[in-house]
Symmetry: C2
Subunit: 653 residues, 2 copies
C-alpha cells in the first residue's frame, strides 16, 4: 500500500513456514511455553516473582473492578507486546483458544479506552487530570506505540479490526494534540517507540497523517528550547521518578540535538535504538536522504564502536545507557535484552534501505547471542542484563555490579524484556527473506519454506539447513511461475570460504558477490537446487585494542554463535584459564545438551592456584597446569546451574 | 608511664632526627608547604576549592562571631589533625610563629568548649539539644578522638597543657556519659577513632579510666541488641545522612558482631582500620591475648586477602568499604589515602605486639606507595582515592568510576585525607626505630640519627642511606654508654639477598635472622659500623590468581617502591603494552625528575592499533610493535600532566 518501491521489503510472516532447527525450537517455545507463562505473569500468577498487575490495571480502567493502579507507568506496554506476540503466533499457527483469549483482552482494552479515544491505564486510574503533562518521564506515547504495533499485527494475523480501530481512534487523538500548530503541544515522546509504530499504522491504513506525525516526532526532537524543560517548568518542576531531572539530561533521551545532527549513540540504549528504527522508517517512506545518512552514521557508531561481540549494546547500568566509543566492560555490561532486540529491528530496516550483508551480519550476531541469551531453555526465566563475564559473588556483593543478576529471573518489576523477546521470536520468520522487484534475498539461514509474490511472479522455495550448527544450506525451487528472477544469498562476514553449487554444479561466486550477497540471476525451474557450503571452523576473535577490557583476550566464535565458558564445565576462577594460540578447538554437536547445541572442546592451561596459599603477591615464576575446556553457546549459559561465566578468555601466544 | 614491658615501643619523635632522602623531603614539604597551605584551607582561603569553614565553626561556637555552621558534621577533626601535624613539626623543628598560631587556635578551641566540657562545634551551633543522640552517624566521639590525639601530641611537643586539659575535661564528660552502668549510655562510636586516642591519653596521664573506657568501647561494639538500632528508634528514626539506614548495615561500622569474633575486614575501611588500631592498643595495655588473636586474624585477612600491592585497602567506592577476599579491581579501587595511613598505624602497633618483619614490610609498602600517592610533589593537591589504573575519560564519563579523580584535588568537602597525611609525614621519625629492654630495632631505612635511652643505657646511632633508591645502609654507633645491647635490623621481604658487615667484616646472617630481623647481639663501641647491603633488582610481581583483575599481568617493583606507567612517558592506551618476561628492566636515578626518583626503563611491545581502523572484532593475527617503556614510582604519578596511569601491565611469556 505504501513504501518507496526501490527499497527492499520483508517477506511477510504468513508466507514463511519455519520447519526445524534452533530458531524453530525457540519459536515453538514461545508458542508452547512463553505466551502462556507470560499470560500468567500479566495476571500476577507467578509465585515468587514481582507482580505485574498489567491486566488488572486494564480491568480497573475499564470499570470492571475498583482498586489502585499498580506497576510501572508503562505497565500497559507489557500487555501490548504480549498481544503482538500472540498475533504473530496466530499468523503461523491457528489456535482458537488463544485467539479467543486475545479477543477478550482486546474487548477489555476497548472498554478501558476513554470516550475521546485516550488509552493509558496509569493516567486514567491515577492521574486523569495530568495527561500529556510529563512526556519526558511517563511513557504515554511509548505505550501507545506498542499498542499500535499490537493492533497492526493482530489485524494482519486475524483480519479483526477492533484493536486497530481502538488505536486509530487513539492515534487520531494524539495527532490532534501534537504538532507545530499553535493549538498543539510541541512535544515528543520521552521514550521513543511510537515513531516506528506510526509508520506501521501508515503502511496498514495508507493514511499519510500517521507518517507525517512520525516525521514530526523525529524532527521536533532535540530542537531548542527543549520541550522537556518547558513541560517541566509548566507542571511545577515535579518528577515522576526520584531525582530524575538530576540524573537524566538531554542525551539520556537523545533530545540533546536534532536527530539529523546526531552522529554518536548516547543515552538510554533502547530509546536510542527505537528512535533509529523510527528514523530509518521515516527515511524509507519519505525518501529523505539526509535522514538516511544520519541513520548510517549512527549505525556505524553503534556497531563499529559501541557493540559487544554478542550484539549487546548499552554498556552502562547507570541510566541503561551507551557510554563512549570502545567502552565495553564485560562484567558490568548492561546490554539489555531489549537493546539487542532493537538492534535486530534497526538492522533489518537498514538492510531494506541499503542491501548490504553487513546489516544482516549484525542482525544475526545480535539474534544468536545477545537476544537468545535473554530467555531460558524452558521459556520461563529471563535476563534483563546480559553480561559477558559473571562471577556470582561479585554480582551479589559489589555495589557497582548490582544490576547484573547471576541467574535468569522469573519476572521483573520492569518487565519490558520478556514480552519483547516473545514478540521477536514469534515473528522470526519475517527476518529470513526480503524481496525487491524480481529479487529474493535469503538473509538468515533457517530451515523453512517460503511462498511469495513478486512482479506478478509466484515463487516457492524450500530451504534446508542445520544452521547455525553447520554451514550447509540447500535451497530447492518448489515453484517459479515465471522462470526469471534473482536469488540473492548472503555470504556471512564470519565465513572466509564459501562454495556454491547450482543443480550440483560448482559456481565461482567471486564475481557474483556485491556487498556480501551472491546474486544468482538466471532462469529457474522447479526442482532446481542451490547448495551453499559455508566453511565454519572454530575461530578465535580479537577485539580492537581500544577495547581495553579485551586486550590479551580472545573470544571463541563458530559461525554466528559466540561461545562462553561456564563453571559447570570448567571449574571456578575461569579468568585463570589461558587459551594457547596453537591448540586445536573442536566442534562437537550434542543433541542431549541444552536442547541440542554444538559445544567446543580443546586443550588449554590454567594458572596453578595451589602454590599460592596465604600469599597475595609473589615474584616467583607462575605455574600452569593443563585443562580441557568446554565452551557452550553464550545464549545457552545458565541453563544448568548457577556459576561463573566468561566470554573473553586469556590468550597465550 | 604505662604499657606492658614485654612489648616494643616506638622511639619517640623527639629523639630522631631525619637528615635527607625521600622521607626527609616529604617531612620538609609538610613543614614548608602543607601546614601553611592547610591552614589556608581551614580558613577558606584556597581559591576554586570546597570551603572548609572549620576554623570559622570554632569561632562561631566560641561566640566570637554569629553565622551558620558549615561543612561536614565531623569538620572539627580537620582542625585536630592539622594541630597534631603542627605538634609533630614543633617537636622536630622549633618555629615560634607556628607555635603562636597553634596556641591561638587552642585558645579558640578552649573558648568553644562548653561549661560541662562538651566540645563539638556542629552540635554546639546547630543541634545543641541533640548531643549524643546519633552516635552512628554524627562523629562526636570521632572528633573527640582526633582532638585528644592533637592534645597529647601538642603537650609532648611543647609541654603546654591547655589543649590537654580541655580534652581531659571533655573525655571525663564522655566517661561520665558512656558505659554499662544504668545511668549511662550503652553506646559506642559510629566512626571509631577515640579508642586509640584514649590509650594515648592513658599513656600520657596514667589514668586507667581512659584505658577502661577504650576497652568498653571496643567490647560493647557489636553486642546485641544493636545500640545503633536503639538510638535510631529513640530519636524517631531520623537520619543525618540521606538514606543512611538503607545503605549502611552493622558491617558498615564493624558493629555486626563483637569485635573479638570478627575475622574478616568488612565495611568502611578507615573505621575498620582505626578500630583494629584501638584493639591492638587495648590488647597491648591489658595483655589481652584473645583480643590480640582477633587483631592477628584481622591483620591476616586485610594484608593477605584484601590489600592492593600499593598497600591501599578498601576496594569499593560504595560506602568506602572492604568488599570480599581477593576482590581488588584496579580501575575502580577506592583505596582511600586515610585507609593506607591507618594501615601504617595498625602495622606499627602489631609489630610492637609481635616483633615480626612482616608488619613493617606492609607498613613500608603502604607508606611508599598508597600513602605518598595521596599528596602532590608541591604539597598542595591531594588524592582521596588512589586507583591503580586510570583513564581520564573513563573517570569522567562512567558512573561507576565517578569516585575516581584523574588528578589530585586542591581540597575536599570531606577533607579527612590531607591533614591525615600531614600528621603522618610530620611524625614519620617515630616509625623508624623501636626498642625493648636492651634491644634497638631498625625498622625503616631512613637517613637519620637517633638518641635513645634503654635499660639505663644511652645510645646514639647515625644511619646513612639513600633508601628506597638503593639498598645500602650504614649504621654507625655514635655513643653507647654501656656496650652490650642488641641491634636488630629488618631484612625486608622484598629482598632476596642481603649482606651484612660489622666493622667491615662480613657476617653470615642466616642464623641470626628471626622473623625477618637480624639480631646483632654484641658489645658495641663508638665508631663501630654496620653495613647492610640489600640487593635491590627490578622485580616483576604477580598477584594471587584469585585476584582476577591481575591475571596475566605483572607489576614492577624495586625495593619497597611499586611502579606505574604514565601516559606522559609511554603514550596513550597503556593496557595495550605487554611486558615480555625476558626483557631487562633497568633502574635509572634521575635527580631532575619528580623531586629525584629512580625510574625504570625497558623494552616492551605494544599492540599495533593502526591496522584496526573501523573494525571492532577480527580473526586476523594481532600485530605488535616494539616500545621503550618508562615506569615511575606509583606515588609520584600525576605530578607532570593529567593522563592515563597503569600499575599492572600485561605480561607476555
Amino acid at each position: 500500500m505504501s513504501g518507496n518501491k526501490s527499497y527492499l521489503k520483508a517477506v511477510l510472516l504468513k508466507d514463511v513456514k519455519i520447519e526445524c532447527g534452533l530458531l524453530a525450537k525457540k519459536n515453538e517455545l514461545v508458542r508452547k511455553e512463553v505466551i502462556p507463562y507470560q499470560w500468567k505473569a500479566l495476571n500476577n500468577e507467578i509465585a515468587d516473582a514481582d507482580p505485574s498487575n498489567a491486566i488488572k490495571n486494564f480491568r480497573i480502567a475499564a470499570g470492571e473492578t475498583e482498586a489502585e493502579f499498580l506497576g510501572m507507568v508503562f505497565q500497559d506496554s507489557d500487555v501490548a507486546k504480549w498481544l503482538e506476540a500472540v498475533a504473530y503466533q496466530l499468523t503461523t499457527n491457528h489456535d482458537e483458544e488463544l485467539e479467543n483469549l486475545a479477543d477478550s483482552v482486546i474487548d477489555l482494552i476497548e472498554k478501558a479506552q476513554q470516550p475521546d479515544g485516550y488509552l493509558n491505564t496509569y493516567y486514567t486510574i491515577k492521574e486523569p487530570d495530568h495527561k500529556w503533562t510529563n512526556l519526558a518521564e511517563c511513557h504515554e506515547l511509548y505505550c501507545a506505540g506498542h499498542m499500535i504495533e499490537a493492533a497492526v499485527a493482530y489485524y494482519q494475523a486475524t483480519g479483526k479490526r477492533k484493536l486497530l480501530d481502538v488505536m486509530i481512534r487513539f492515534t487520531d487523538l494524539i495527532d490532534s494534540k501534537f504538532g507545530r500548530e499553535d493549538d498543539k503541544i510541541k512535544g515528543y515522546p520521552g521514550h521513543q517507540e511510537i515513531e516506528l509504530a506510526l509508520i506501521k499504522l501508515y503502511n496498514i491504513t495508507g493514511d499519510s497523517k500517521y507518517k507525517e506525525l512520525a516525521n514530526y516526532f523525529i524532527d521536533e526532537r532535540g530542537q531548542e528550547p527543549s520541550y522537556f524543560d518547558i513541560e517541566w517548568e509548566k507542571r511545577g518542576k515535579t518528577s515522576h521518578w526520584k531525582d530524575f531531572r538530576k540524573i537524566a539530561n538531554g542525551e539520556y533521551y537523545q533530545a540533546h540535538k536534532p536527530v539529523r545532527e546526531q552522529a554518536t549513540a548516547v543515552g538510554h540504549a533502547v530509546r536510542a535504538m527505537y528512535m533509529y528504527c523510527g528514523m530509518a522508517d521515516v527515511a524509507k517512506e519519505t525518501g529523505d536522504k539526509q535522514l538516511l545518512e544520519a541513520c548510517k552514521r549512527l549505525w556505524n557508531n553503534v556497531t563499529k564502536k559501541q557493540m559487544y561481540i554478542t550484539g549487546g549494546v548499552g554498556s552502562s547500568g547507570h541510566l541503561e545507557s551507551f557510554t563512549f566509543d570502545y567502552d565495553l566492560p564485560n562484567d558490568t555490561a548492561y546490554t539489555e535484552t531489549c537493546a539487542a532486540i532493537s538492534l535486530v529491528f534497526f538492522a533489518q530496516r537498514m538492510f531494506h534501505l541499503d542491501p548490504a550483508a553487513e546489516y544482516i551480519d549484525i542482525m544475526e550476531r545480535a539474534l544468536y547471542n545477545g537476544v537468545l541469551s535473554g530467555i531460558s531453555e524452558d521459556g520461563q526465566k529471563f535476563f534483563y542484563v546480559n553480561p559477558l563475564e559473571v562471577r556470582p559473588e561479585v554480582c551479589q556483593q559489589r555495589y557497582d555490579h548490582k544490576h547484573v543478576k547471576p541467574v535468569r529471573q522469573k519476572w521483573f518489576g520492569c518487565a519490558c524484556c520478556p514480552p519483547n523477546i516473545a514478540r521477536l521470536l514469534a515473528s522470526i520468520g519475517q527476518y529470513i527473506y526480503s524481496y525487491k522487484q524480481n529479487s529474493v534475498f535469503v538473509n538468515l539461514y533457517v530451515d523453512s519454506t517460503v511462498d511469495l509474490e513478486l512482479n506478478n511472479n509466484e515463487i516457492s522455495l524450500k530451504h534446508e539447513t542445520n544452521y547455525p550448527w553447520d554451514g550447509n544450506v540447500k535451497l530447492t525451487i518448489l515453484k517459479a511461475k515465471k522462470p526469471d528472477f534473482v536469488l540473492a544469498l548472503r555470504i556471512p562476514s564470519w565465513c572466509k570460504k564459501a562454495q556454491l553449487k547450482v543443480n550440483g554444479e560448482k559456481i565461482n561466486i567471486t564475481e557474483l558477490i556485491d556487498n556480501g550477497y551472491v546474486y544468482l540471476n538466471r532462469s529457474w525451474t522447479a526442482r532446481d537446487t542451490v547448495e551453499l557450503s559455508l566453511n565454519m571452523p572454530v575461530e578465535r576473535v580479537s577485539a580492537n585494542p581500544q577495547v581495553r577490557e579485551n586486550i590479551g583476550k580472545v573470544a571463541i566464535q563458530r559461525g554466528p554463535v559466540v561461545y562462553c565458558l561456564e563453571e559447570v564445565d570448567n571449574g571456578s576462577n575461569l579468568p585463570a584459564i589461558y587459551l594457547p594460540d596453537s591448540t586445536e578447538l573442536k566442534a562437537v554437536y550434542r543433541s542431549d545438551l541444552l536442547g541440542g547445541v554444538t559445544m567446543i572442546k580443546g586443550q588449554a592451561i590454567k594458572l596453578d592456584e595451589s602454590t599460592w596459599s596465604g600469599r597475595l603477591y609473589s615474584t616467583e615464576n607462575l605455574r600452569y597446569k593443563p585443562i580441557e575446556i568446554t565452551a557452550v553457546p553464550y545464549f545457552s549459559w545458565n541453563n544448568r546451574q548457577a556459576g561463573e561465566m566468561l566470554v573473553w578468555l586469556n590468550k597465550m601466544n
